[in-house]
Assembly symmetry: C2
Homo-oligomer: 289 residues x 2
């Protein structure tokens, strides 16, 4: 009997991959806007409208764990090909949250010191503190994506890393972190256009490197590496969402919705005062004229 294929679920946040997903990343349309019937202007309006809701939930999350060592947190992991819009997510979605409650880490090429350790060593140090929204711009997944594409690790090592990643993420979710994993999914055509824009604008040259063109030759290998990684690491506790990202505005409202969902799931409450409010009001009055 043929094994039943598990398809991605279309949600207003993109394509949600359940555990046991057996699809291909390339079957998912990077130009789609699943769950959203509006146009660009509607998307932009929605993004701005929901800002204050996100702000309120974030402040509750922070307050709920003020000066406590345990408690809930959110970790947003953002992966995607070059130009897929990771920076725009940081700026326009994460950037609209109170910066005191957010901790962004951009994982670049590992340093020599980091290379001497297991690949998760540098990642662990940036797991979010209670009450915080941690954000990874690239992540532990680089070690199973670019490493597979360029053969820097063999198949057995890549499998070991999938297992290590799943165990690490299970540790985090068991400790109260909600993990939101996003692949910003663009087409090769769209990437070409975005790179061309960087080349045509002198104020964007610094974002371009000739290596970006070289990497395009490996596009299919990257898509295959994503498919394998997402199949292996879309777990019950930390599922992936493939967010179509050819339309930047859609990707932004989708990631914002994912953050809102994560925070609503936690449902953080204002802590109750551990002092007698009336007594403190009376004491304070005495210091005022």
């Amino acid at each position: 009997m043929a094994k039943k294929r598990k398809h991605a679920e279309k949600t207003p946040t993109g394509f949600r991959l359940g555990p046991g997903w057996t699809g291909e990343v390339t079957e998912l349309d990077p130009g789609a806007t699943p769950g959203f019937s509006g146009k660009k202007a509607d998307g932009k309006k929605l993004l701005a409208t929901r800002d204050s809701t996100l702000d309120d939930l974030q402040e509750r999350l922070y307050a709920a764990h003020h000066e406590q060592d345990d408690g809930r947190s959110v970790l947003l992991i953002v992966q995607g090909m070059d130009t897929s819009g990771k920076g725009g997510i940081m700026r326009h979605v994460v950037g609209d949250v109170d910066p005191q409650g957010v901790d962004i880490t951009a994982f670049k090429d590992p340093t020599r010191a980091e290379k001497r350790h297991d690949f998760l060593w540098r990642i662990r140090k940036h797991a979010p503190e209670p009450g915080m929204i941690g954000v990874f711009d690239r992540s532990q997944y680089e070690d199973v994506l670019i490493h597979r594409v360029h053969g820097w690790a063999d198949a057995a090592e890549i499998r070991r890393r999938y297992t290590a990643i799943n165990a690490f993420e299970k540790e985090l979710t068991d400790a109260g972190t909600v993990i939101v994993k996003v692949m910003l999914h663009i087409s090769a055509q769209e990437q070409g256009e975005r790179l061309m824009e960087r080349l045509e604008r002198p104020d964007k040259h610094w974002k371009f490197s000739p290596g970006d063109v070289d990497e395009r030759a490996h596009w299919d290998a990257y898509m295959d590496a994503y498919t394998r990684a997402l199949r292996a690491t879309s777990t019950e506790n930390a599922p992936w969402t493939v967010v179509p990202a050819d339309r930047k505005w859609y990707a932004r409202i989708a990631v914002q919705q994912l953050l809102l969902d994560a925070l609503r799931g936690i449902d953080p409450q204002w802590p109750t005062a551990d002092f007698d409010v009336d007594e403190q009001i009376a004491r304070l009055r005495e210091t005022m004229d």
Copy 2:
């Protein structure tokens, strides 16, 4: 001959203290709006209008030092009594800059490990990287303010710390960091009202602690400690600005203006491409259909 007193200079950013300032913090009006003749609504409009200028300058600063180890940075140090609006500055001024280019550190009570080191040990680790805007919410100045008020350090030790702070800041400015030091200056009356608001709103209780009322008994001692610290550390390379903060909207536009001035002083330029642009455009075209 009597020594000539050095007064604070009124600027659109508050009261700027030159080196050798001999005034008293208490002579500066916390309710003033120096250099700004508009009202609250005008201030709010100005804040929003200048956002994009700040954004542009910050991106240039970041780009100019992309993947370089040397170069310019900005360090904004924010000090002030409880409820003086430090959080609002983080949220509404710093929070409007791309979070990828900003590194906020909130210095709380030092941990046991930190206490075993010199007071600057934990501070040094958070000096901004090239291209970044570092922000200190409280700072090394706690060690010459609360420590003086509560007698945790004697006069000789406080003087040693002034010298150490000046040497440390000189190191940073010599290395290309522009340091902006701000005292958010509120009146005791205004603080009383803001604490009362925290007590009257259950969603603000978490921000209140009974110790906040105790500390009000030391108000004059705090103002004296500020006067002494600002006199001792308003240097040519790292002067203080006392920003009147009874009106939150004024404090925000003043600090925004200080950041703009710091960035304009650096005048960061887009880096020129280290590759042949036409050649890369041709290579990229070949990868597109």
